[in-house]
Symmetry: C2
Subunit: 381 residues, 2 copies
């Protein structure tokens, strides 16, 4: 079996590095430094029941997690939580499927509801909406080209995965009762992008993974305005997995609470730490890409209400392109760098998605190998 | 909102008691007594990656959980783990769906694969196989009446949920390549039933919830012989939720390890404790039911290899019936006892499923109310 080194820090001159997944291990160092404040201790007799709060519509949501979520959004100012239902999920992956399920069910028709996203889109949306071959909804691909009649769901990811752009809906059907939108705000946090305003949409998805880097916990949440939608999402999660790990919920509650408490600190602000790290990585990546055939998107600056100043964007993925007529995912694979093919994201062979959230040593190897590719090309000329 | 008391111990003369779900809180007391040995401590920087073991087919399975599972089955002797793949899931609920998905996919046809279970069956199977309206498989109901041609999957639960009987396949198609079976052994543990032999089937499902009572952790596992089936199950879980909570996995690993270590102890054997508790509850229930219009199944004794003696069965659910022509679920509801309707399990109005795993005070209230119903009926006469 090919040895894939992505879990420990070792000399990796020969190893394949996997930047296909967005495994956010970059932040481990911060949490190591924060020490015991985020440590949770769970006794054998704790958290045994299926139920967290029988009086809540989402009865498997731990009240302390609900509280931590509301407080964090309040402190960051990225999303409105008032008069909304919080639905917890096994990652936002489960929640996205729960939301598509709920909206399709409530559309009430006999034909499958169309699901679209503007290219380049998060490739996993394709898998999520096709793998069970549901008769309730149907993946219809690129929202830019969508012109079908009838009910549809547009998935809007902003900042976008894979290309980091700020997105709004692109299917323009104002006042169309059959037009539904799911906003995926996985990356709408101040280390990645300026928080220009407080989001206020019908269904907004967030994930613990991409905020703090705790992907292993599989915790996501949805902020949902409509009670019936929230109810159907909860029903989906009940049948899908009878709720969500309590251990992960209490741990994420604790970590989100510390995140909120330290987010105004001068020395311990996680978002400041994350932003500096991302800035450093992006600057080094842009340096390698400079004067080469590689391309990277440019992002406009924006005034960040959280930091109180104008800032750049440092997306969690690099949407790397090439000016050459080549299959970039294969070129990188030959250099033992695994990336996600642009074609999987509804784009072309000349683009790939590369995670910017790996451990530092993996990121350094990536830069070395990219610089090496550039060098080989320049010698070819 | 109606006040449902199922989460704390209070005077509940007026409360609705919910015995519809099998919330296994009965075992809390044991884990309280076992003390610190099962306590887990997780630091902020632990368990951050999506990956647990990149060289394992099921790369999101924590190695220490895999080890604990193998050791426990070895000690109890209820299932073979040699030469099998372990797939971890967010409860066996997710795994059952993963297995149905995998088998349907590998059947390779264009028509949906039939899914059946012998009545009375676990009502959740119906929901699990219908809610996404998959074109890959189709719930066909009672296996006793199944006579369709073509590929099918039989779900065999033994001891059975809801009625506690020992089950084997009932669709008799020996040597039929299109006949697939998923064995759900959630209750094949020595506190519920004699361990008469070591199970050795293609796909066997287990759940942490019903062994130790830790339902909130949402941990289940499948023991799978065929590599392709295991692979497709893993793929399902990746798209469904990108793996399984690491916190729950490390905690269940620790608890299963303690379970294994103490299972030969004279004073701390969990299975002994569980069996005594269940025996006591069943005897008290049978006492109330005696000389009434209520009915309960009788179970044959069996030689338990684990305890080394002949023992009775004490199922996790009581399959309560009545000799009268009445709707038993409604009769119980009027007495503020929530139970699962027999009709949902493919049976009739005269039967209900009642959880035997509630907290002690809830169980006592159930017995009181049942005795009261019996009394009212005798006065009616």
């Amino acid at each position: 079996m090919v040895k894939v080194e992505n879990t420990k820090s070792i000399a990796m001159s020969d190893s394949i590095i996997n930047l296909d997944h967005g495994d956010p291990t970059a932040y481990e160092e911060y949490w190591r430094k924060i020490g015991d404040r985020c440590t949770v201790t769970i006794r054998g007799c704790d958290l045994m029941s299926y139920f967290s709060d029988v009086n809540n519509l989402c009865w498997f949501l731990e009240p302390e997690l609900a509280e931590a979520i509301k407080e964090l959004h309040g402190a960051v100012g990225n999303a409105a939580t008032e008069d909304r239902y919080i639905v917890v999920g096994t990652g936002s992956t489960q929640l996205c499927q729960a939301a598509v399920h709920a909206l399709s069910l409530l559309a009430g028709g006999t034909e499958p509801v169309s699901v679209v996203a503007a290219a380049p889109y998060y490739s996993t949306y394709v898998e999520e909406t096709t793998y069970v071959r549901s008769g309730m909804y149907k993946w219809e691909g690129d929202a830019w080209r969508f012109d079908k009649k009838g009910p549809f769901i547009e998935l809007v990811t902003s900042p976008n995965n894979p290309d980091g752009t700020i997105r709004e809906t692109v299917v323009n059907r104002p006042d169309d009762e059959e037009a539904k939108v799911i906003h995926d705000f996985a990356y709408y946090w101040p280390h990645y992008t300026p928080i220009t305003h407080c989001q206020d949409h019908d269904i907004m998805l967030f994930t613990f993974s991409k905020i703090t880097g705790h992907a292993g916990s599989r915790i996501g949440w949805a902020l949902v305005k409509d009670k019936e939608v929230a109810k159907k999402m909860v029903e989906y999660i009940i049948v899908n997995s009878i709720g969500v790990s309590k251990e992960s919920q209490v741990r994420s509650a604790k970590i989100l609470k510390v995140l909120k408490e330290t987010c105004t600190s001068e020395t311990e602000n996680f978002f400041e730490y994350g932003r500096e790290m991302m800035k450093n990585r992006w600057e080094r990546l842009r340096e390698v890409v400079k004067e080469s055939d590689f391309t990277l998107p440019k992002y406009p600056e924006g005034y960040c209400n959280f930091f109180g100043k104008t800032l750049e964007s440092y997306p969690a993925f690099a949407w790397l392109g090439t000016k050459e007529e080549t299959d970039l995912v294969n070129d990188l694979r030959r250099q033992k760098v695994m990336s996600r093919a642009g074609e999987r994201c509804g784009s072309d062979k000349k683009h790939v998605r590369v995670s910017m959230l790996s451990r530092e040593d993996v990121f350094n190897v990536f830069l070395e190998r990219l610089a090496n590719m550039k060098l080989i090309k320049s010698i070819d000329l």
